[in-house]
């Protein structure tokens, strides 16, 4: 069992997501940084799609009452097991009575903690991921609180594993987000679109304080709609990474909690950059740059190769 001593700003149980029911509005609620999430599972010898903790913010700590292999991935953190420093991206053994403490987050925003064995969490509609708004899945359908105790079934100790440094994500703003044309890009002025293609000053945005698992609101130069066009659409399906633009011209990057949107869909963040979205925190700078879909496919393939390069042959 583990006991939450301090949940940080926000921590929940996640997995690779809930799929197949978007037709009735059930969102994926997936781990936001898929690479880091999967590696947290790999490092502790679990199935790659098992449940792990997704934590935002420093100060997180938990106490073990079993001996278990554990790993931290994702944001660059300074973490301690009692008074011993532990390396992220490398599994380590925790003993009953130890406390894991994340003292600081240096770069990035969200990190993942995996444990060898099976975390006892609610599997609802084929997924352990927490749907916070609907209060189901994960740990009682809600974020973790101080004093929560999570059972670890078949907790065990495995040999040390690590992820080679050259495949680790580089997390330092400004983040360049490559984007693809969305269905309503034509509703924006040519200057607005040209600004995004050239990666000029127009394409710089700042992450606002409104950041959560549903979406990321950006601040900066408002994107300009052509005269006389509708700024809303008849509500329609969206996929994760869709960039919607409400009437005020400030983009919102939609994440994994919505299946339908009602604002103009300017663009989509390329798949290869989806994991980065987990790490956009208030005040970070982002730069948009438009790419074509073939380029996006190529980048995605490279990302997948990268993923497998992280694992031993």
């Amino acid at each position: 069992m583990i006991e939450i001593i301090n949940p940080g700003w926000f921590s929940i149980v996640v997995d690779s997501g809930r799929y197949g029911y978007a037709d009735v509005g059930i969102p994926a609620s997936a781990a936001l940084d898929h690479f880091s999430y999967s590696m947290a599972n790999y490092l502790v010898g679990n199935e790659m799609d098992g449940p792990v903790l997704e934590v935002t913010g420093s100060g997180f700590s938990l106490k073990f009452d079993v001996d278990v292999t554990c790993a931290v991935t994702g944001a660059e953190v300074i973490a301690y097991l009692d008074d011993r420093s532990v390396m992220p991206w490398r599994s380590f053994t925790a003993r009953a009575g130890n406390t894991l403490r994340v003292k600081e987050v240096l770069e990035g925003f969200r990190y993942y903690i995996g444990f060898s064995g099976v975390m006892e969490a609610d599997r609802v509609i084929n997924s352990f991921s927490t749907n916070i708004e609907c209060r189901f899945g994960g740990y009682r359908g809600r974020p973790l609180l101080k004093g929560d105790r999570i059972e670890l079934n078949s907790a065990r100790i495995i040999g040390e594993r690590f992820i080679p440094e050259d495949v680790l994500p580089s997390l330092s703003p400004p983040y360049i987000l490559r984007i693809l044309e969305g269905p309503e890009m034509g509703r924006f002025t040519e200057d607005t679109v040209a600004g995004l293609i050239e990666g000029g000053a127009q394409s710089w945005y700042t992450v606002s304080a409104k950041v959560n698992r549903t979406g990321i609101r950006l601040e900066g130069n408002p994107l300009v709609f052509k005269k006389g066009v509708d700024t809303t659409i008849i509500s329609e399906g969206i996929l994760p990474g869709t960039i919607q633009v409400p009437g005020d011209g400030l983009p919102i990057i939609t994440l994994y909690e919505r299946t339908i949107g009602g604002y103009a869909r300017l663009a989509l963040v390329a798949k290869a950059d989806h994991d980065l979205l987990a790490h956009l925190k208030p005040k970070d700078k982002v730069i948009f740059t438009i790419i074509g879909v073939e380029e996006a496919e190529r980048l995605w393939n490279r990302k997948i190769e990268h993923f497998y390069r992280a694992l031993p042959q």
Partner: protein
Amino acid sequence: MEFSRYGEDGVRIVFGDTIDLEVNKLIRKYYFFLKALGLKEVIDIIPSFTSCLIRFDRRRISFSDFLLLLKDKAKDIDTVRVPEPRSHEIPVRYGGEYGPDMKFVCSYAGLTEAEVVEIHASTIYTVFAVGFLPGFPYMGILDKRIYAPRLETPRLKVPEGSVGLAQLQTGIYPFESPAGWRIIGKTDVCLFDNKKKPHSLFRIGDTVRFVAT
């Protein structure tokens, strides 16, 4: 049917460009057809007012091959029997503490509360899409006489079961959630159950009648 690409792993099929019952029928038919095919390449289907958005498994198939597959299969659309729409009666307590925006809707429409209720409850609505929140039905078409704009600033919280309207649509919030629609009443009917199948009470094409209690 107009096919286009939506990012790396999405296909968007547009059936029309207005809120229209005939378009809804076409989308509904296509949605049930595609669901019945049970293609392993399909991860999710999101039918809505004017389109079906399909997320496909790019590890299994390329976009161009998937598009060919969809177009080829579409020839068989009439071979699948589409289930009849279900019809639902939803009891609603209108106004008062249950409908904080009822007064606004009345004054915007220049009607009494009894008239607004009578108009809202006498229309048979069609479910055009289910989403935003799991189980939330986007329903239309609202009688023009009770048209009301969305809230300028959405409420941070409305209770589960709140019945709202916005422009020519009406809907029910399955969970306590933020809401930008005008809330005129509340129902106790459970719209979404993660433990029971089907999880959502409503599906695209279902019809709904509200009954004032």
